[in-house]
Subunit: 334 residues, 4 copies
């Protein structure tokens, strides 16, 4: 029996944390052939010098669409705003894309422009599919452009989807905690070791840009609600925890059954009885959840833990690629 050909893929923007990790996952992937890694900084550097632990012996190249765009699949790991034009170019060449930026997550260009800037490729919004496999698996299979969710929305939506689908959510407070890799590779006062070490504080108060993404997707699932979403920066490198405080209309739900049914068979969602820790999911594509009822206040509390670089970005991107190209969903990331 012949071995199926591997799908040629390029990673655009591989100098950053998430692009580099995606390159590592694809470099070792049995069904994809990593053709090139491009970057906007560090051109000429080898990935295994910048990130020795990834062990990807490729050199970062300056973007050359004629060469790098001659692939079937692409990962785009550019900052928001910069991603859309590149995605448009690649789509015009027929490349199927997972985009890690925020540019195609919001379905409505006006919402995008309210929270970000003018949209550079609004004509592609309609074909973009929101890349949360646990909610949109079938659409992703057929998609040519997948918008990989933000890290916070990934954890939050997996934590809240079963409740949202009941239509009973009245109010949500999301207190999120993230490791520093979520802030990216840029060396700034905010990411200096001495700033973060032995510290914790909130940021992006009160209007973090992941808010409209969370609200949009909760609405898709059945919850029409404005959320209070507040991220905090923690002294750890990888990992993200969302603590969701939910008020429901009525409290007759059997939470254990609701979540058990919702995630039965899901390869990358774990239900735990005790609150999950981010250490439980480090370097994995897994989201670990626990759900609790606070009888005194009537609230439901849901915790969701992911690795922000993996399920919150790179490995979820590969999960999406696997779906798009008919590969086993867990291939290369389990």
């Amino acid at each position: 029996m012949s071995q199926p050909l591997r799908v040629p893929v390029s990673v655009f923007g591989a100098a950053g944390f998430t692009g580099a990790l995606t390159a590592r996952l694809l470099h070792g992937h049995p069904s994809f052939e990593l053709q090139a890694v491009t970057a906007r900084s560090d051109v000429g550097a080898r990935l295994d010098e910048l990130y020795p632990h990834h062990r990807v012996p490729l050199t970062l190249e300056e973007l050359d669409l004629d060469r790098h765009g001659n692939v079937e699949a692409a990962i785009v790991a550019y900052p928001h705003g910069a991603a859309a034009p590149l995605v448009a170019e690649l789509r015009s060449r027929g490349v199927r894309i997972v985009d890690l930026s925020a540019d195609f997550r919001l379905r409505d260009a006006t919402v995008y422009e309210h929270w970000y800037d003018e949209h550079q490729a609004p004509e592609l919004l309609e074909e973009a599919v929101y890349g949360l496999p646990e909610c949109y698996r079938d659409q992703i299979r057929d998609a040519d452009l997948v918008a990989n969710p933000g890290c916070y929305p990934t954890a939050t939506l997996l934590a809240l989807a079963p409740l949202a689908r009941t239509g009973l959510i009245e109010d949500v407070v999301i207190d999120a905690k993230s490791g520093v890799s979520g802030a990216g590779r840029a060396a700034t006062d905010k990411t200096h070791f001495v700033t973060v070490d032995e510290n914790v504080s909130a940021y992006g108060v009160p209007r973090h840009r992941h808010t409209p993404e969370i609200e949009q997707e909760l609405q898709q699932l059945g919850a029409e609600v404005r959320v209070t979403f507040t991220p905090h920066l923690l002294p750890l490198d990888q990992g993200e925890l969302v603590s969701c405080y939910v008020r429901l209309a009525g409290d007759g739900l059997d939470l254990e059954q609701l979540y058990g049914d919702a995630y039965a068979g899901e390869p990358f969602v774990e239900l735990a009885s005790a609150p999950p820790g981010v250490r439980d999911v480090r370097d994995t594509n897994i989201c670990r959840l626990s759900v609790h009822r606070d009888e005194r206040t009537g609230r439901v509390i849901v915790f969701g833990a992911i690795d922000n670089l993996w399920k919150g970005a790179a490995s979820q991107a590969v999960q999406n690629l696997n779906l798009m190209f008919g590969r086993p969903e867990a291939e290369g990331i389990a």
Copy 2:
């Protein structure tokens, strides 16, 4: 002019983190004379061996009330339940006490028994004063028994007091984050470095014992509300942050003025425009606050940062002692 005599004081339970730090603060205090440090473990060990950085050259002694109780002032740093009988003994000898346990924080013995155990000295509850100087300064001055607040209640109440006094609070979610020293000196799976490092998770869900203390004191201030209170353990040693999500009846408050007025002249409360970090208050008696309005949801968000061992325990105890004995409030802790 003659130097006033220093007040003799003993610290009972000085082998733990908070007792040892209180001993250090009193050892260097100009108005108190640290007579003895007792312990229930490590008897015979020198404090400066157990805690070199405190540099207290005293030896931990087994409790001998006839000797150690012959003082004017005492700090009791026993676990809840064990503290009450010792406090009763010391009170019967006329010693004025700051108790760091939970035993005298709850004004109602039945509430105590619901959340803890049977109360061992309920007859003393009436005379106990809740030791949050920013709210009860005058009562503390005259008190013989001060119940030092819990670390989470300290930060939470300072964060919410100005709002609580308006009577407008309808709903509160408190998401708290604490360093590991808050879990005490006991070496357990929970405090093992490898458990905590690169990790974050909630604990005490959904019924942490600081909940009734917070609700009791919010009620005293004017807010009759059941709170959702969820603490999380972070990979840092000292520091505690509370993130308070408040829904008010009406939103016409001038938050800046409200907080500015409430804390004008307070030596140990700082108002900041940006969310505070626990690093800002490490090794201090200061609580640093910021208050924000989320226009989209109508919520008010208040952050409060303290050092759990200092303002959350030891230095607040000394602040209370200073008040009780007519000393400058900041003496020995500024």
Copy 3:
């Protein structure tokens, strides 16, 4: 073509860090069938509760040699002293063993007794092979009992072997730094987060028990030298760095060529030009080395970084098992 049968294996002592990790590696190994995991504590607990991130859905059982010893291969992860009797029992049943303790590392029982205690199975010392594949690959293939090296000796010997073989080593100082997982799972004052965090100090001064193991193996390689070996505890979980300061008789060596030749083709040794960091090798079986000449003093400085739980213990044990059972050396650990 038929699939070769998987080799049945038990892990004895799987409640600790290294035993549990070995169980995880064997649980996912294509050539071994993990039959049972035993423990001396936590009997009845599931491994995936104690160590969620390992995801091994097996229950820790009390030792029952009739059941658990009915295997072809065994990993013994007992403390020194306790391991030898179990190893003797298993050998008498014909089981082939990788022992993670110190009991069979020292070839001379009197040396063992000088540094540890009376040896419980000295008759097995002769058949034991020191399990450092990069030095003893052929002997390991034929061995029935492999003594898995200590974590510090692993890093040190890989760092020094090329120099030792020249016979020119005159003097060695080894300054070692280890993460806290090296101290094991026991919760003590030493492993309490608050003790380790923001701290660094030496321990085991001046006679750490890995010293004779290092000297014995250096001698086997050609260096008759007494070493000064001093480990330090660092605030990190996994990772070990040895900094080796070597004085040679004569300095004409081409270090780059010496090391390049020595490790050409080695799958788990990496040579780097810059000093390695333990982050480069986290969660891998790799030892990363760099070698430098200090022209001013004539010393050669060699740095070696490993993950103490992986190459320093569990994954090296699986590497040895692979060799013993004729499997590809990197199977299940690459």
Copy 4:
């Protein structure tokens, strides 16, 4: 009796870690009056915004020598090379200076030029006094220009001075470990949290610039020796440990008595029996030492722990200022 006038002092270069801490110590000092803080970046920012925990309510100003140089005392916290011209200007105005840079530490301009660059004010080298009070207390009292020692030399020289004075040192290896604040405030790949966290590696191999400073001062004390000095970066913020491996000519020394005599009465040197940790000296001007004999190899091992920002820089600068202006040596830093 009248209060003595406070000495007017300016801090030049107060935007960095050590300058800012010196400003804090002088801001609260009873004998100095902090006139101004200047900076080459962040001009116009308030120090208590950049460093909230220092609580210095002064604004960073651009250098204006006519205003800022009109003081009796100055702290210069500029990088090497940039410091010398400013020091020369200030000296020409008669200001007495503690310089935190390397510019006046090396007594020989040619050595400076070998390790750094051309010297900008060699004519001042002769009047500069090396500011290690435990070795040069009397000269510092009379000095107009004190070169504050480097952090590594401070710890190393205090660790080795008693041995150096015996004239018996034959060989020294110094393995040093430092927290990240030692790398300064600049946000770079090297100081990014994700680079440092869970990591340890050597840097500056094999020629760190503190080497000639250590050798020069060892020679002054009596040890003519070339040292191997290798620093490592650790995942902690403040603290520095040197592990010194010494070979002596003859081993008849009574180490305990030697060190006890050498440091009797020293207010800021502590002798411990167990290896010191940097946590023991955090936020203090103390150097904590332990000395051990390794009977097997004949080596003496000395550990020295300091806080690199305090005794390694800012508080030692204030200690020097105290001496220069006839103040109690521990004033403002105990």
